[in-house]
């Protein structure tokens, strides 16, 4: 217990240390009809040390010296200084953005991200679609929508400010209850993912060994049972695993010894993936023409907004997309003339017949 407290405190302090250096970042993509994108990044930091402030390795999105950078600061009533860095760059195509993701040296460099753009000609309108995607972390996880209903899902993906507003608003009781429900269900989801991913990784590592298939099938069949064991013994998990009790429970006496290495390795992989150190940020998109669809939220300046958090891409790719349209004026004119021509012909015929 003492060791656990110490671990938790150390972890907390480390997180504080780490997060002091990470700026609050908002990325805005201004998408143009030709597929080029003007990317603007705004970072805010309270870090006093200029060397650590806005260090490339602390920044959540790829940025380098080729960007146009402007720095400023603000001082609030309490006398606290906030440093703001604004960076801007025009990318001629989506491929350039994807290249920067591949060569990223920032704090999220280990995460696979990419962007996409396409346009479709639909005669009267030209439709554009832009998306940014973060690939999933786990291979054998369950989608969160299997655990949450629609209202809970919406809450789950909401920006923090919106959650705060709702929980302090007139329907605060409802939203607090919703928040608790989402928390409880996502805990279950995480536990299930942990077990499922471990089983999946273990089966990969143990492939080829005798009776492997039987073991894997049995593990899968008992997945829910293992989740319950974890729930029940969450405070002693560490020691239970170390002592091999959990493993014996999962695999049986004989196999626990036989597959200990693979089991430990699988757990290591799982915790590495699940506990990936992703630094959150916010993403915004501004589309050309009139917006017709998105899975994002709309903020006060009518920009589309997505929070980007590791939860969102734990078991499924997280895609932030927006669609818009621009009318094809010439198509409208040509169609108008064509219809007028045919209509006139029909009228002429009616007159002549009459």
């Amino acid at each position: 217990m003492k060791r656990r407290s110490i671990k938790l405190i150390v972890l907390f302090i480390l997180m504080l240390i780490v997060s002091c250096n990470d700026p609050e970042t908002v990325v805005t993509n201004y998408v143009h009809p030709d597929g080029s994108v003007t990317r603007k990044i705004e970072m805010k930091s309270i870090e006093g040390d200029i060397k650590k402030r806005f260090k490339i390795s602390n920044i959540q999105v790829p940025i380098d010296s080729n960007w146009t950078i402007r720095d400023s600061c603000t001082v609030d009533k309490k006398g606290d200084t906030t440093w703001i860095r604004r960076a801007e760059k025009v990318f001629k195509s989506i491929d350039e953005i994807n290249l920067t993701y591949k060569s990223d040296s920032g704090s999220n460099k280990d995460f696979s991200r990419n962007a996409g753009f396409n346009k479709r000609f639909k005669w009267f309108n030209k439709e554009f679609r832009f998306f940014e995607r973060v690939d999933k972390l786990l291979t054998f996880g369950y989608p969160v929508k299997d655990f949450l209903n629609n209202e809970e899902l919406r809450y789950f993906y909401s920006p923090e400010k919106l959650k705060e507003e709702n929980e302090n608003g007139p329907d605060s009781l409802k939203f607090k209850a919703l928040s608790d429900s989402v928390k409880h269900k996502t805990d279950k989801w995480t536990e299930k993912n942990l077990v499922s991913e471990w089983i999946g990784e273990f089966s990969k590592l143990a492939t080829g060994k005798t009776n492997n298939d039987m073991i894997i099938k049995s593990l899968r069949a008992r997945e829910d049972e293992f989740v319950k064991i974890i729930e029940k013994n969450d405070k002693q998990l560490d020691s239970l695993w170390k002592n091999g009790i959990l493993l014996r429970e999962f695999l049986g006496e004989e196999n626990a010894v036989k597959y200990k290495t693979e089991a430990d390795s699988a757990l290591s992989i799982v915790t590495k993936n699940m506990f990936a150190n992703f630094n959150n940020y916010s993403e915004r998109i501004v589309m050309p023409g009139k917006l017709i669809g998105t899975n994002g939220f709309i903020d006060s300046s009518h920009l589309l907004l997505w929070p980007v958090k590791s939860d969102y891409f734990m078991t499924e790719p997280y895609e932030m997309w927006a669609e818009s349209k621009i009318p094809n004026t010439w198509a409208w004119i040509v169609s108008g003339f064509f219809l007028a021509f045919v209509l006139t012909g029909v009228i002429v015929r009616i007159i002549k017949k009459g």
Partner: protein, 181 residues
Amino acid sequence: MEPGNEKYNKVLDLLRKSKPDLDSTDDIKREVIKRIERVNHSRLSLSDLVDFLFGWVYIQWVRRSLITASIALVLVFIYQQSVILKRIDYLSRQTIVTERENGSAPADEVEKMFMVYRNSGRRFPTKNITISEKQMKELIESVNELQLKYKDLENLIQEDPELKKMIEKKLIENNRTKNNL
């Protein structure tokens, strides 16, 4: 006028009997036909143009194809626009956030990470430091002590409004000096 006005009647009689003489109608005929043909010709040109542009209306398959194409175009337009309008209407019911969102890590995310960490029984995977238990103990004790002292100090300041004002003023001045403002 009195009916018995003899002079008047005579004059009228003279005029009545003297009908204006149209020497020949041939000139008139010629001129009239000429004028009519001129008018027809200009009318014919217009008629020719109309026939040229809209001659297709007399060819059944062309007429039907063009009408079908027009109807199809109108239907496509209506369908496209209604789909777009529906999507825009759905969008307008999307949630609006009043403040700009920042990217800080929320408390529940930290909690989740703790839970996973607890379940895994492993250390922080990417940023590891090694520290002895004794050093850890000392660190914890000093943090606790600092926390208690800070709380006491805070209470003292809160209780004395003048002291509070003075300290706030000093803090602002210090920060200004630091930032060279």
